[in-house]
């Protein structure tokens, strides 16, 4: 067992190298898309079927209110992803090229 073997074992199977792919933006859009979709579905349900209530009804339209919360959350995530300094840097780099 020389020194060589363990290192090969470690790096090949466990420690990936930097491949240069950028994912942070895509992750932001991906999450915003799902949260917005859910938010819109809940808001519409709240508007179209305000009579849907749970057993432990709290006297307000749960679907509508939480739908709005999710739409707002989705917009915030989307906005942050769009405004991120990384995205701006990427765009500038592309323009220069």
């Amino acid at each position: 067992m020389s020194e060589q073997q363990p290192r090969e074992y470690l790096e090949e199977e466990r420690v990936p190298e930097h491949s240069g792919t950028s994912h942070s933006m895509a992750i932001g859009f991906y999450i915003a898309a799902l949260v917005l979709t859910f938010g819109v579905i809940l808001t519409l349900t709240g508007l179209l079927a305000p009579g849907l209530r749970a057993k432990g009804d709290l006297g307000f339209n749960v679907n509508l209110w939480w739908g709005i919360v999710m739409v707002v959350s989705g917009c915030v995530i989307l906005g942050l992803s769009l405004a991120s300094p990384r995205r701006r840097a990427e765009r500038e780099a592309r323009n220069r090229a």
Binding site: R7, P16, S19, T21, I27, F38, I41, L48, G51
Partner: protein, 540 residues
Amino acid sequence: MLALAQLKLSTNQSWLDYLIIGIYFVFVLGIGAILRNRMNTSEDYFLSGRSLPSWVTGLAFLGANLGALEIMGMSAGAAEYGIMQSHYYWIGAIPAMVFVALFMIPFYYASRVHSVPGFLRLRYNEATRGFNATLFAIFMVLLSGINMYAMAIVFRLLLGWSLTASIFLSAGIVLAYVTLGGLSSSIYNEVLQFFLITLGVLPLVIFGLIDVGGLSGLEHSINKAGYFHLWANTGSTDNPMAVQWFYIVFGLGLVQSFGYWCTDFLVIQRALAAEDLAASQRTPLIAAFPKIGYGILAIFPGLIVLTILPNLGGSSLANSYNMAVPYAMAHYFPTGMLGVGLTALLAAFMSGMAGNVTAFNTVWTYDIYKSYINRNAPDHHYLNVGRIATVAGVLLSIATAYLTLGFASIIDYVQVLHGMFLAPLFGTFLLGMFWRRTTGWGGFAGLVAGTATGLILFLISLDSSLGASMARALYAFIVVLVVTIVVSLFTQPKPENELRGLVWGLTEQKEAVEHAWYKKPWVLAVVVLLLAIALNIYFW
């Protein structure tokens, strides 16, 4: 048109919930398919190319930790033990996360330590690695049964099927998810999971607290002595957990918690995927803030459900503590919102289960099969072995799902396992990293002795309460330290050049460069610790 939609929505109560769950699966499987075409290497899937900012890795770090255990298990524990369950957050997670950020990440970053088996092999010897790999494979199968069981409970409630049918349905879904590539985009899904779980569980706590009239209303309507104190009754064992503060601080806060956060590379690898050392260090700290919040989010549903079902906690499945969250959701969430809540639970199970099955697959294929059974086969052979291991792992999880039925709640079961598997490993890790004199056979003897101690103590008492698990973890840890030190003193130490990159004093660490004061690790660490202390005092 409006009237039609209204009629449809109110006559069919559940298609909307299924639609929401369906959309989630389309998203998760879809992103796997899209990414597969866009990424060049298999490493890209996993670590997403070491280009991630710390908010992504931080949320993924927490997402990887938020399994079924977190949501259903912790609230089950809260229904059983009251707010003392929050010890698993404010003493049992935050200090360890801060420690990992400040001390372990720079070390891992600079060293050759990137996995438990890798470290054990280089630092100790082949025997230690082999022993640990075998234990770890067993541990993963025992653990993945929990996710299977938790998922089955939800389907049972949702579809009204028997438990066995629900378990097989869950197994089928997990297999489909793993084979269709639901895993391949893990960081994407872990961050998504964090948002889904938070948006699904937060309303449960808000609605519940509105319903019972806030914290004081909750205390009043539960009316159980000691259910709302973290420390006040821990001078003796006269508290819901029947445990003294000493075991909470050292058994849970030190051994179990540090054992988990320092050695769980499923979680640590998220931090190592960050763009630079400073971002890596920030990762556990960014995760620590929502983790503090989960000390409330994951715990309170279990307390709130006691106001609806005061007699929860029996031997039958329908009356089990594990039902706390599903029952609370069914009570407070109307169709629509219920779909979002159930999706949050499913997301947690899927990623927990998939994580366990993949870890099992990796350890079996590379650390056991390739190392000891068939050393020189072509790559595609190992790929096939891995696939078979995935199926076998899911089938074995079905069996272990039934094992969890014997415990009052899944959190009891998990902590029995953690005490037995992680506590000894932590001792071996700690000595190997900080004491040069530790020898290969010293580490092996210590790990075997510590694991045996935990196992024997459990078999003698068969006590699965949380207090007993904390104590067992502490004893097993002490046995590991003593045996490792004694055996090391009588065996030949390794030459220093073999320990480079593996032992603290022999690894050159870089200083992380960070100019913004609010991003400095120690600033974040102090803030997060102060918050945790404040909550401990508030719920004293």
